[in-house]
Subunit: 327 residues, 2 copies
């Protein structure tokens, strides 16, 4: 019977989450029974979308949920054998047993690092791909603005837009991230919104307006973009980080969507699952050709998971935030 | 040389427009020259969308612009003869000469009153029709909420939704309008937002949530609707009356569009002109069958036009606001 450790939410944060909102709990996990597998998680994902679930959705005093990549260590299930890699929604814990539901077998690409399946080549990258191409209906050569452009989703969205021949402006909140976006990723303009007001900076950076704004932020970024949208522009709304801690994010100029006939559309990756094979083909090709760059921030061990989430909300990550749970 | 009178904007209103913002100006209009027609306007339209143009767009000390229906009284143009009815964008004046550009000949339906071409069977009705069916992608039997449901656009949108077998909730700001919507139009529920808080009232009136919110208002109505939107709901945004006088309209829970994957889309009637023939066929049929009801508020004479616009913004109209300029 393996010993596992897991992270519980023990109280709901008011505002930014703090260490006292979480607890590390020891647990005995049963061996795999008939028709079950025992999985050891190798990596777990830490995402901005986890924050609203702390306010509503995530049960108290239970192991938290989140994306993870694990390895089958015991199998009494016909579809899985020991050593199989499986993606799952049971992050924030080291071991779990499963009847196989919710597990997806992963065939890792031998030419790529395993962790890319947790971000660029996983749901993070797919969210950027489908949000831009399917929800945002991006056309080659358009004018594009991406907020949190150095983040896990934003950096992929910005680079796909560049690959499609677009003029791309990205915003970020730190000089080192801005440098990476300008020098390594090659965006046309980068705004550090902590150093210059986003409204004026975006106006200066978008002389031809904005056709597609890939929104991860809401709030002042969305207001700034609404002032710059071209006629029949699209705003795929992927996240609203500006409101996750406070519970609300005020937008005062939404009426602009009438004059420019703009479409705002909230989405999640499962809205365009039909595009998943195209995404896998395109993204594997781009990665192997070195045409998509990425960064990772990897924390070590389950005990670091709460701090990883707290740090993510404070912008301490560079690229995708992961926690390594086992080797 | 006919004498005409016209309405000028002489100063930009701060907040609600007032009589001092407008002037009635006498003018001599030239007779029709070669290739021209002289048109006498019979009716002019007064619309909420005129308010933002007073702040920006409408030139000062010039005749204002707006939809009108006129009659050709002199013609030296091969495409028009005396007596032809023409729709035009040159409201707020009694006479004008034209080279024909911007004039659309109207074949009035002998079985319908002339004024319906100014609203239910004109751009007002078409805006409702296309906004609901094309932008909103309404499906039979869905859950629908319409704001300013007794207004010129809202009342048509609400009734088309009823004709499509939908459950329809309407909001309005007066008891007589609420009664008309409930007793004459037959909406499933009517909210007088001046008597009960829109948020709680909408929640009570929409036990199955909202699939399509036809938004004429923005602000607190949009916030209330965002709390009730079903997954993959649509919000065609036709107007933002709540912000027209103040210049802004705050929405604090826009992040809800992510969780329910809602689409908000601003539009104008010209976005779906391909649907105009279908609209004319459907709406003429519905009107003749008595299946679409309407109300008109008709003010008399050009001098009443400013007060008609001021009154419209204050909700003093019942249904479409028109000014009769000639018999």
């Amino acid at each position: 019977m393996p010993k596992s450790r897991e992270i519980h939410l023990v109280q709901r944060p008011s505002g930014a989450p703090s260490p006292a909102d979480f607890a590390l709990v020891d647990r005995d996990v049963a061996d795999a029974a008939d028709g079950e597998v025992l999985v050891e998680n190798l990596y777990m994902s830490v995402d901005p979308a986890m924050r609203p679930r702390l306010t509503a959705g995530q049960a108290l005093n239970e192991a938290m949920m989140g994306g993870a990549l694990g390895r089958v260590v015991q199998s009494r299930h016909g579809d899985f054998k020991v050593g199989d890699l499986v993606t799952n929604r049971l992050g924030f814990r080291e071991f779990f047993t499963s009847d196989g539901k919710g597990l997806t077998k992963l065939e890792p690409d031998p030419d790529l690092p395993l962790t890319v399946h947790m971000h660029v080549l996983g749901m993070t990258g797919f969210t950027a791909y489908g949000g831009l191409l399917h929800i945002g209906q991006l056309k080659d050569g358009e004018q594009v603005f991406v907020s949190t452009a150095a983040g896990a989703v934003g950096s992929v969205a910005a680079q796909i837009a560049k690959l499609k021949g677009c003029y791309v402006v990205g915003s970020t909140g730190a000089d080192d991230k801005a440098r990476w976006l300008k020098d390594e990723v090659g965006l046309d303009a980068v705004i550090n919104y902590k150093k210059e007001p986003i409204r004026q900076a975006l106006e200066a950076a978008t002389p031809k307006g904005v056709d597609v704004y890939f929104d991860n932020v809401g709030g002042d970024h969305l207001e700034a973009a609404l002032r710059r949208m071209n006629t029949l522009g699209r705003i795929p709304v992927c996240g609203f980080i500006s409101g996750y801690n406070s519970g609300h994010s005020v937008v005062s100029n939404l009426s602009n969507i009438i004059y420019s006939r703009v479409t705002l559309r909230g989405f999640v990756g499962t809205d365009f699952m039909h595009a998943y094979p195209d995404f896998q083909r395109d993204m594997r090709g781009w990665l192997k050709a070195g045409r998509i760059k990425y960064q990772e921030t990897v924390r070590d061990g389950i005990a670091a998971a709460p701090d990883a989430l707290i740090g993510l909300m404070a912008g301490q990550n560079t690229g995708k935030m992961l926690v390594k749970l086992a080797g």
